[in-house]
């Protein structure tokens, strides 16, 4: 037990002072420099530093959208403008105190962040990029056209903060504090289950749903949060500019924010921070070329995309991140499984019952009245020729396809109409024919994703870094480490998952399912591509999970494995059940031999 908790805490181990220092030393140094900056530079540079801090408040939030969730929101300048105008209008027209206006600007930013997040639920890539671009254009047009409110092209004075924030040094400390708070919130989200969930949305949305990530809610919450930060940044920006016009919110600002995230690296914090600093300084250094600044941003974006699509952080990773040792052997320790999947007080046995399920794709009847039942603590083999509907059935059970007819009951729950992530919340876990792991995350973090729906901390509380969320995270981290030990990958826990071999990724998917503590596990060709001894290991693993009460549905072409470990075997052919029974009944069935097994 103690051996697991010693090594199972992973990178951000607060109890390890050496690591703590090496991790936070650069940050502390940067903070120190930022803190004493006003005592050795003149006013001009303080203003530049203020601008960098303001940009960072926005970029910290944008980082979650672009860097973590992978959404191409290229129109964030629109949210900056909304925050700026909200604050300016409240102060100028309604006489609201400027600090109150700052908070309200954050609220309006959050609202519009939510609004531009809505299309992201249905629209991807170019479509979504176009909608955010359109949003930014519309905001500028409205600011120009609604003269009675915004002053049109003439503009509005920005909010003036009360003393001590009205001097440039005082204002600098205000925005520095905001930048620190933004960083703190970003970091807490980034290292939490929400951060992992966002990366899963980015790199493997299908797997994210299977692990119980509520994609819709997570996206909307994140957009709202980022919008709030952008709104705050807007109000601060308006205060710094002292006077705002629609011209202050050109599209190249948006592009600059975007580059700052990309150049630093997707899914990082320090990288985009450095990117922000560099990009804020760039126009100051290259002042004579100011007319070409948009061109330069375009060129920079093109170069980043073509040369370093992973950002600087990817290169740093390649140098420093621990690689898995060569000639490693995957040696499962099946005895550990019981410590992973025992849910305290939750022993209710649940079986899955599929009745008369049919599904047609156009004219192809992929499933044609299939019945199937998987009891807890049994292994149910599902075999059949290619195209017989095995994976389709699995997709219907896990919720990716909706059946045209038939019922699916999981215990007492009628799950036929349930979304994928709710089914996983009930304890339905699955693996994929082609492993879907998150290459940029560590092996351990990948495994932790399995317990996504078991976190109870809300997004805001996690962002604030409250002890409860950290406690939960630690418990899941230890469970994930045990699951990795069980499948034999503990020695790679800290490596990036894309450095694992294909076969190891299959075992990682199983570990991820184990962390979920599933009641039923759907395995889609887990032995494909495995060597002989690995198949043996896999068989032992599956049998052990089964003996602990998990129901197993095993799709496999290695029929020797299926016949050896299954208690019951169903054969599909052309979407219909060809035979169903004990292994010995099925393997001697004439029709099965003709259609699939051969002689």
């Amino acid at each position: 037990m103690s051996t697991f908790s010693n090594s199972g805490k992973g990178v951000a181990d607060p109890a390890n002072p050496g690591r703590l220092i090496s991790q936070f030393a650069p940050l502390a140094a940067a903070l120190l420099i930022a803190g004493i900056l006003p005592s050795f530079v003149d006013n001009y540079w303080i203003q530049i530093a203020s601008l960098a801090c303001i940009y960072w408040v926005l970029i910290a939030g944008l980082n979650l959208i672009v860097g973590y969730a992978g959404q191409l929101a290229i129109g964030f300048v629109g949210l900056l403008a909304i925050g700026a105008y909200t604050a300016a209008i409240l102060c100028e027209k309604l006489g609201v105190p400027s600090l109150v206006a700052l908070v309200l600007a954050g609220c309006s930013g959050a609202f519009f962040g939510f609004v531009i997040g809505l299309p992201s639920l249905r629209l991807k890539n170019f479509y979504f990029a176009m909608t955010t671009l359109g949003f930014a254009t519309i905001v500028t047009q409205v600011a120009l056209g609604w003269e009675s409110l915004t002053g049109g092209g003439i503009g509005l004075p920005g909010p003036v903060f009360p003393a001590p924030f009205n001097s440039s040094v005082g204002f600098y400390y205000l925005v520095l504090a905001m930048a620190l708070i933004a960083t703190y919130l970003l970091r807490n989200i980034a290292i939490s289950n929400f951060g992992r969930g966002l990366v899963a949305v980015r790199d493997a949305e299908v797997a994210a749903e299977a692990m119980g990530v509520p994609v819709v809610r997570l996206k909307l919450v994140t957009f709202t949060f980022s919008g709030g930060l952008a709104g705050l940044a807007g109000a601060l920006y308006a205060a710094r500019q002292t006077y705002i016009t629609p011209d202050a919110f050109t599209f190249d600002l948006s592009v600059m924010f975007f580059i700052a995230v990309l150049i630093g690296g997707r899914g990082r914090i320090v990288g985009p921070m450095v990117g922000t600093a560099i990009l804020t300084l760039l126009p100051e250094i290259a002042a004579p070329l100011v007319a070409w600044s948009t061109f330069a941003y375009g060129l920079l974006l093109l170069l980043v995309v073509l040369i370093v699509p992973g950002g600087m952080a990817d290169y740093i990773d390649k140098i420093f991140k621990k690689r898995p040792i060569a000639n490693r052997i995957t040696a499962p320790k099946v005895g550990v499984i019981s410590a992973v999947i025992s849910r305290a007080g939750d022993k209710a046995a649940t079986s899955i019952v599929v009745k008369n399920v049919a599904l047609a794709f156009g004219g192809v009847r992929a499933l044609d009245g299939v019945d199937l039942e998987v009891q807890p603590g049994t292994i149910h083999g599902l075999i059949g020729p290619n195209g017989s509907g095995k994976t389709t059935l699995l997709n219907v059970i896990s919720g990716y396809y909706a059946a045209n007819q038939g019922t699916i009951f999981f215990g007492e729950h009628d799950i036929a109409g349930m979304p994928v992530q709710s089914r996983s919340g009930l304890g339905i876990a699955r693996t994929f024919q082609t492993p879907r792991v998150l290459g940029n995350l560590s092996v351990l973090e990948n495994a932790m994703l399995g317990a996504y729906s078991q976190f109870s901390s809300s997004f805001p509380l996690t962002a604030l870094g409250l002890p409860n969320s950290r406690r939960e995270d630690k418990a899941i981290r230890e469970r994930a480490y045990r699951a990795l030990t069980a499948v034999g990958l503990a020695h790679c826990a800290e490596s990036r998952a894309d450095q694992l071999q294909h076969t190891e990724q299959r075992f990682l998917e199983i570990a991820r399912c184990l962390v979920m503590q599933p009641k039923i596990l759907l395995l889609d060709e887990p032995a494909a591509g495995l060597a002989h001894n690995e198949i043996e290991n896999l068989g032992t693993l599956i049998e052990e999970m089964c003996s602990l009460g998990v129901a197993i549905l095993l799709i496999e072409h290695h029929t020797d494995l299926v016949f050896r470990i299954s208690g019951h075997v169903t054969v599909l052919n052309l979407g219909k059940v060809l035979a169903s029974g004990t292994p010995s009944e099925v393997r001697t069935n004439k029709e099965v031999i003709n259609a699939y097994l051969g002689t």
Binding site: L72, R122, F126, F135, W146, V206, G298, L301, L302, Y401
Partner: protein, 285 residues
């Protein structure tokens, strides 16, 4: 009054439709939606105005020259913003690379050509009032373009090869269709159509560096409505958008037209993501 609104709407809608077709042509061979389509229109207008206006070239020289610039720009787009990111098409980096390239072109145009809209010379001088050249020319050229491309796709070997690549690039490659060369050609063709849209729409939109971004958005809406890949959908969608825009301009006026169209655009996209004439999305798992 109503007639003149309709005529203006149809004329401007034809330009949008042609930009939509430009998107379609690029998409057919590369599955890339490019932010440079609108800039192609801008290039057609700006270079057209420069050749036949500033340089006083005759139309028979100025028109092909402007088209040539468009074609060249299409080739360059393929070379530097599309080809390098095609290997990992599922990462959709083309969104950023084409955006970056479009931004560079737009800035270069703003610096070289200036940020003021400049008039575009009358080309033929036939018709006046509601039937002035600036209204009928885009419509006629747009219809000709749609018809020609339709014939080209259906009747010629090259056209069928294009169709083959857009339906199944792998199978097309296996059949010996030179996929890369076809892609390069399609970008040249898209450059031609885009520049043509800007050239014949120049009198209506003016030779102005900022129309690129505008056309990008309003050219994309028709194909989002009509379904990507469908040129007839682009035509119907473009005309509908142009008329809607002019009517809204007349009724509401000012900036709120943009807001209305944007809201409609989002609503339609969210409700029917595949468009009216497109086919539905493929399987995910």
């Amino acid at each position: 009054m109503i007639l003149s609104i309709l005529i203006a709407g149809v004329a401007i809608g034809s330009i949008y439709a042609m930009i939509g077709i430009c998107y379609n042509i690029m998409y057919s061979t590369s599955k890339v939606l490019s932010f440079t389509c609108g800039q192609l229109g801008m290039i057609g207008a700006v270079f057209g105005a420069w050749f036949i206006g500033d340089l006083q070239w005759p139309i028979w020289l100025g028109f092909p020259a402007a088209m040539l610039v468009g074609v060249a720009f299409g080739f360059i787009t393929e070379l530097i913003a599309v080809r390098p990111v095609l290997k990992n098409i599922d990462q959709h980096l083309y969104v950023l690379s084409t955006l970056a390239f479009a931004l560079m072109v737009q800035t270069a145009a703003a610096i070289w050509w200036g940020t003021e809209p400049r008039p575009f010379r009358t080309l033929i001088g036939l018709g006046s009032g509601a039937l002035a050249e600036k209204y009928w020319l885009p419509v006629v050229v747009c219809l000709l373009t749609v018809g020609t491309i339709d014939l080209f796709y259906r009747k010629t070997l090259w056209g069928r090869a294009f169709t083959a690549i857009s339906e199944d690039p792998g199978a097309a490659l296996a059949l010996g269709i030179p996929e890369r060369r076809m892609r390069v050609i399609s970008y040249g063709l898209a450059g031609f159509v885009g520049a043509l849209a800007g050239f014949v729409g120049g009198q209506l939109l003016f030779a102005f560096f900022a129309i690129g971004a505008l056309l990008n958005f309003y050219g994309f809406i028709p194909i989002a409505f009509g379904g990507i890949g469908s040129n007839r959908g682009a035509l119907v969608g473009g005309l509908a958008l142009g008329i809607l825009q002019q009517v809204a301009n007349y009724l509401v006026g000012g900036v709120f037209v943009g807001v209305v169209i944007f809201a409609l655009f989002i609503a339609v996209l969210v409700l029917i993501p595949q468009g009216l004439f497109g086919s539905s999305a493929a399987r995910r798992v």
